[in-house]
Every structure is written in structure tokens, then in C-alpha cells.
Amino acid sequence: MASRSKKSASLTSFLVELGVYAVFVFAYFFLVLHFLGGWLKHIFDQNKTTYAFVALGLIIVQGVGLEILTTALLRVIRSRER
């Protein structure tokens, strides 16, 4: 019984995290990614070396940034549960 309620609590926290994350991603997509296309295409056509650095930098920054965001979200949700 106790393990069932524990499981349902972790499922709830997962769904809450997913919902909050979806809102963040939605905002990020329309505020940032949507407008990057033209700029990136310009760099791609002009200078491949710059494009390679920018591409790698962008994916690393996003990787680290989203990791911080998801970890922080999990921490906030779990602390509220307790």
C-alpha cells in the first residue's frame, strides 16, 4: 500500500515536471530557436569554420542549460512533495 502511494507520488511529480518543462520548451522554441534559422543559414553559407564553432557551442550551451533547468525543476518539485 505504502509503495503504491510512493509510486503514484513519483508519477505525479514526473507529470508535473513534464508539464512545467513543456511550457519552458514551448517558450524557448518561439523566443529563441524560431529566430535562429536565418542567422545560422547566413553563417553556414559564409564561413563553415565559424559555423562549426557556433554549432558546437550552441548544442553544448543548450545541453548544460537544460540539464540545470531539469535538475532544478526536479529539486523544487520533490522538496514541495516532502
Partner: protein, 307 residues
């Protein structure tokens, strides 16, 4: 949405959902997810040279998240990861040069797609067979969930292969205490990593579908350490792969960024799931995924239809 660099039009929601699914797979199985991401991008109409480069870029962002998680769980053998990364980078460049040659001869789509299908079906069949053999052995602990507080034990029906490779004495010999390996030839590790790198540079992604089985069956690394070490190594080698493929005009970074937004959350969930499953079970659950990827490529090749 138009992705100008690769000249494709894809619904970004599809990319985020695909990213989410492969994020879970990546965190859970320790593979980059190219067995699904590559075929899915091809099915969306992305040219194969962009599939390869873009998948590598997307893997970088995702692997950082998953590798950090596995590092915290003590699943990363840093020494092994760094040795492997050096040879993988050379292999990635080899694979990228092969793609350039195919681009010049204008048959990159067909050749890479057929190679993808052969590799995915082969890997899936092999892991299914091996996991089945291991579970049939009925060794205690082979299919049970790990007991908290006790070190994880891992069994494989092909453990004798790893022992044979560890007996191969070709100096310099090194020890990998974090992986429980007393002595192994450096050359064995370098060859395994190089071959993984070629697949990574040629088919995209981290080539975890080659490297993870190689780590477990050839080097004899426990599955949970193989998962974490593979992810750690992929961060370094896929970064190089992204750079070299971007220089060659094979990366649509916007596609990678959109896919990665879904993958970031999926990777967190996948890495946590490895705590509840063990060795042969993880491997057996992996079996249908490469087949799904192979089916997607075959469908796109035969019908010419893109989603």
C-alpha cells in the same frame, strides 16, 4: 517549420517527441539513440549526409546530461573513457571522409541507408540471442534487480570471449580497476574504440550500438559501467564529430537543437530507470529498438515517402 540549412520542412513537434523518446533510450541503454534518430530524420526527408552530422550534434547535448547523471551514480570509468576517446576521434574522421567520398559520387543516401539496415538488424539479432542465452543459464542475480547497498553483479553467456581478449598479451598492458579488469592490452581497447568511431562518423550518433556490446562482450566491462563510460566517451568523440561534419557542411544545427529540447528531459528519466533494472534485462529490452529504426529506413527507401 523550414530548416534552411538542410533544405527540409519538418514539424518541430515531431522532432521534440522523437528527441524525448531517444532521450529516454539514451539514458537507459547508454546508447546515443542514433538507431532511432537517424532513421527518423531520414524518414522526415533529411538527406543522409545531414542525418549523420546532425545526429552527432544532437548526441553531444544529450550525452552531457546523461553522462553527468551516470558519473554521479559511479558508472563512469574515466581512464577507459579517455583512452577510448583518443582512438574514437581517429575513427570518426575516417567515417566522415567516407561520407565525403560518397557525397562526391552522389550515392550517400543509398549506401548509408543500406549500411544502417545491416548494422541495426545484426546488432538486434546478436543482443537478442546473447540475452536469451544468458537468461537461460539461470545464474543467480543475472535477471534480478540489484539489491540496494550491494555491488551490482553482471553475467553474460559470452563472458568467456572477454576473458580470451583479456588474456591477449600485447604490450602495453593496463589495468582498469573501476571496470574490474586486472589486465588488458591497450591495443584491444584502441581497436574497439576506432571501429566504434568509424561507425559514428559514417552512420552518425555515438555508435553505442557497436561500442556498448563491444565494451561488455570484448573488454568485459560490467553493463552499468559500460553504459556510463560509453556516454562519457561519446561527449568527447561526438563533439569532434560535430565539428568535422559541420566543416564539411553536413550539420543542420537547428534540427539538433529542437530535437535536443525533448531529449534533455528524456535522458534524465532514462538514467534514473537503470537503477531498477539489471544486466541481461537491460540488453533484452534494447532488442526491438534497432529493428524499429531499420524498418523506418527500409520503408523510406522502398516507398520514397517521407513523413
Amino acid at each position: 517549420m523550414d530548416f534552411l540549412i538542410s533544405g527540409t520542412h519538418i514539424n518541430p513537434v515531431f522532432l521534440i517527441v522523437i528527441g524525448f523518446i531517444i532521450g529516454i533510450c539514451g539514458g537507459f541503454f547508454g546508447v546515443g539513440g542514433s538507431f532511432l534518430a537517424g532513421p527518423a530524420l531520414f524518414a522526415f526527408g533529411v538527406p543522409m549526409n545531414f542525418v549523420v552530422g546532425t545526429d552527432l550534434a544532437h548526441i553531444v547535448g544529450k550525452s552531457i546530461v546523461a553522462a553527468k547523471k551516470h558519473r554521479a551514480l559511479g558508472n563512469v570509468d574515466i581512464k577507459l573513457g579517455l583512452i577510448m576517446a583518443s582512438a574514437t576521434i581517429v575513427g570518426v574522421e575516417t567515417g566522415a571522409q567516407i561520407i565525403q567520398q560518397l557525397k562526391r559520387h552522389k550515392n550517400v543516401d543509398m549506401v548509408v541507408a543500406i549500411a544502417f539496415i545491416i548494422v541495426l538488424v545484426g546488432i538486434s539479432s546478436f543482443i537478442a540471442w546473447e540475452s536469451w542465452q544468458t537468461m537461460k543459464m539461470g545464474k543467480k542475480g543475472a535477471t534480478k534487480a540489484p539489491v540496494p547497498g550491494k555491488p551490482k553483479r553482471d553475467h553474460s553467456a559470452l563472458a568467456y570471449i572477454a576473458k580470451k581478449f583479456q588474456r591477449f598479451h600485447f604490450p602495453p598492458m593496463i589495468s582498469l580497476p573501476n571496470s574490474g579488469i586486472k589486465e588488458i592490452s591497450l591495443w584491444t581497447i584502441l581497436v574497439v574504440a576506432y571501429i566504434g568511431g568509424v561507425f559514428s562518423g559514417f552512420l552518425g550518433g555515438g555508435a553505442g550500438y557497436i561500442r556498448m556490446p563491444a565494451l561488455v562482450y570484448i573488454l568485459g566491462v560490467p553493463t552499468h559501467v559500460a553504459v556510463g563510460t560509453d556516454l562519457f566517451e561519446v561527449v568527447i568523440s561526438a563533439s569532434y564529430g560535430t565539428f568535422t561534419h559541420a566543416l564539411k557542411g553536413n550539420v543542420d544545427i537547428l534540427i539538433a537543437l529542437v530535437m535536443h529540447t525533448g531529449a534533455a528531459i528524456g535522458a534524465q528519466i532514462g538514467a534514473t530507470l537503470t537503477q531498477y533494472f539489471h544486466g541481461a534485462r537491460i540488453r533484452l529490452a534494447f532488442v526491438p529498438l534497432p529493428l524499429l529504426g531499420a524498418g523506418l529506413i527500409l520503408y523510406s527507401l522502398m516507398t520514397g515517402h517521407h513523413f
